[in-house]
């Protein structure tokens, strides 16, 4: 007790150094914490990369590879016909995203720029689909795709994503169009544009960042989707990359080097998109979350 009050008294006498010491101490503490978290966050990824380039003897015996062995990539590439599954995923993702962008841009524009009775109610009805989890429509969607002959097809899988993806994208595009000045449209109308002209010549060119956001967020979501793709596609050759790797685990359970290589190959396209468009992606996420 005495010692503590003595410490306080003396500390007050040398106020400035104490503040500086505290500052340096807390700075160091912050950095140490952040670096520890960084290690935890990065470790699994680093381990995956290291494992993918080890030869099979080293996989379980040493953390660092003694030499780089790229044959694992070749092994998984050929073993599960990886290019085919990557192309499947690419097809599903692009088809969905193209439809979603067209449909959601038009609808988002109306909700941002038109006025009519019942608009708000209609908007909430439309984006209400955001609240519906995939499980809630899994079984009827399975039956529906079966009845129209699109079960076990990539096009059918792509269609199954449309509802949720369109709802969220309308929400994003509406916020984006609302951020553009209203006067632009009025100027276009004075210049003799009709409603379609205003949309096509005035707003659509300006909407490119909004469209890019929708493209990135939806590409990532659909590329990464697992439940629908694992359920609606049964023939091995038509599986998406996510489902194909899941299948491969059964067959290559102990070939960690090959599996790690497969995971990395599945990540390359999406990580590339992310790295190129990272700013847009993060802005889109936070805009979707914060501005609404």
């Amino acid at each position: 007790m005495n010692a503590i009050s003595h410490y306080h008294a003396s500390a007050r006498t040398f106020d400035i150094p104490r503040v500086q010491v505290l500052l340096i101490f807390s700075r160091t503490l912050i950095y140490v914490t952040l670096i520890l978290i960084m290690i935890v966050q990065a470790f699994p990824l680093v381990w995956m990369i290291l494992t993918s380039i080890k030869n099979q003897r080293e996989v379980f015996s040493s953390f660092l590879p003694t030499q780089i062995d790229l044959s694992n990539f070749q092994r998984i590439w050929n073993a599960i016909d990886l290019p085919r599954h990557l192309i499947n995923s690419l097809y599903v993702t692009s088809l969905t995203v193209i439809i979603v962008v067209i449909v959601a841009t038009l609808a988002g524009y109306v909700f941002a720029r038109f006025h009519f009775r019942g608009k708000d109610a209609l908007f909430y009805l439309f984006i209400g689909a955001m609240m519906i989890p995939g499980q809630a429509i899994l079984i009827p969607m399975f039956q529906f795709l079966k009845s129209i002959g699109l079960l076990n097809t990539l096009t059918g899988l792509s269609f199954s994503y449309l509802g949720g993806a369109v709802a969220f994208s309308i929400f994003l595009m509406r916020s984006f169009f609302m951020s553009l000045p209203r006067e632009l449209g009025d100027a276009g109308r004075i210049d003799g544009c009709g409603e379609f002209g205003v949309f096509w010549y005035v707003y659509l060119p300006l909407a490119r960042p909004g469209v890019a956001t929708v493209v990135i967020i939806q590409s990532m979501g659909i590329w990464n989707e697992f439940m629908f793709s694992n359920t609606f596609i049964s023939s091995p050759g038509s599986k998406t990359i996510q489902a194909a790797l899941f299948q491969a685990v059964g067959r290559y359970a102990t070939d960690y080097a090959a599996l790690s290589s497969g995971l990395i190959l599945a990540l390359i396209p999406i990580v590339t998109i992310y790295l190129v468009l990272q700013k847009q992606f993060v802005e889109g996420l936070t805009a979707g979350a914060l501005k609404g």
């Binding site: 807390s26 912050i30 952040l34 978290i37 960084m38 935890v40 966050q41 699994p44 990824l45 381990w47 379980f60 953390f63 449909v103 609808a107 109306v110 038109f114 009519f116 009775r117 439309f126 609240m131 519906i132 989890p133 499980q135 809630a136 429509i137 899994l138 079984i139 009827p140 399975f142 039956q143 529906f144 269609f159 199954s160 449309l162 509802g163 949720g164 369109v166 709802a167 009709g194 409603e195 949309f199 990532m220 590329w223 990464n224 989707e225 697992f226 439940m227 996510q242 489902a243 790797l245 899941f246 685990v249 995971l263 990540l267 999406i270 992310y274 993060v282 936070t286 979350a289 914060l290």
Partner: protein
């Protein structure tokens, strides 16, 4: 667009005036009707039926729902879902907030940390599940290897094969994966808090924790509500990572509503007895739970003005 110019001119005129809106909206309306509303309606109907997917469905009224509460496996799945949701909501709301505060404390290299923390977000739940299944593997997985190598061999576990450790292990993956996402949301919102508030708090000699509690948290209230809602929805419907890592095992110790639904319908497909009506009633439970809980949370968070 011109609603105020004329007194209500009646429906045909309204249609004529709004026809561009109608044209623009119809593709979305068709998509949402065909790929969301109709399947959803079918789900509701199906949940009152008994159906094996082959013969004609039989109307059974509330029997599926009543059966749920006598089904031991459903109750286990419900309990595990509650466990997963409560723990992830608490940890995935608070941890990213604390890390965002550290990043916001005026240090250098914040962008680098933020980018690295974010990397797991890009990876799909299925792939991160596969990756972590390798890490958790009891015999040669790197986690147990690591524990043995630093002399803590006594702490090694059958992470995903032991009913006591399986849920915490899965939850750890969820935290690892989502930290960057919520961090970025918090961090962006923090940039909008006026610096004067912190200066004022400092003048009142509030320490860092007090500033967090009395300035940051109240200012971030709408965002915190949003993060809680997102975490709740994700928790109630959790499926991918669990299916990939354990498929609900060992002996249902990690079964959630999502995985139980799946094994009741598609997991059992081709085997003896797919119960599509029963499985759909589980889907409706998931839907209703996530709906009610998000409404409650949004209402509770509404003391300050939030616009969604």
């Amino acid at each position: 667009m011109t609603q105020t110019r004329h007194p209500d001119p009646g429906l045909p005129a309204a249609l004529r005036r709004n026809w561009p809106a109608i044209v623009f909206l119809s593709p979305a309306a068709i998509v949402l009707l065909v790929f969301m509303a109709i399947p959803m309606a079918n789900s509701i109907v199906l949940s009152f039926q008994s159906w094996n997917g082959m013969s004609a469905p039989v109307w059974v009224g509330l029997r599926n729902y009543r059966a749920l509460f006598g089904d031991r496996l459903f109750l286990i799945a419900l309990g595990n879902t509650a466990y997963f949701t409560i723990v992830t909501v608490i940890l995935q709301t608070t941890l990213p907030l604390l890390v965002a505060c550290l990043l916001n404390a005026g240090i250098r290299g914040g962008v680098l940390f933020r980018t690295l923390y974010f990397m797991p977000v890009i990876i799909s739940l299925a792939i991160s599940g596969l990756l972590w299944a390798m890490i958790y593997e009891p015999n040669f997985g790197v986690l147990n290897e690591f524990l043995r190598s630093i002399g803590l061999g006594g702490l090694t576990q059958l992470w995903l094969a032991d009913r006591r450790t399986v849920m915490p292990s899965i939850i750890a993956v969820s935290i690892w994966q989502s930290l960057g996402f919520y961090l970025v949301i918090y961090y962006a919102a923090m940039q909008n808090i006026p610096g004067e508030l912190y200066d004022a708090a400092k003048i009142d000699s509030a320490n860092a924790l007090q500033r967090l509690w009395h300035v940051t948290v109240p200012m971030l209230r709408p965002v915190i509500v949003l993060v809680v809602v997102l975490n709740t929805i994700n928790g109630i419907k959790v499926f991918d990572q669990i299916w990939v890592m354990t498929a609900g095992g060992p002996n249902h110790a990690s079964d959630t509503l999502g995985t139980y639904l799946y094994s009741t319908s598609f997991g059992a497909m081709g085997s003896s007895n797919p119960q599509l009506g029963y499985a759909t009633s589980i889907a409706i439970v998931i839907l209703v739970l996530s709906f009610i809980l998000s409404i409650v949370q949004i209402r509770l968070g509404r003391r300050q003005e939030i616009e969604y």
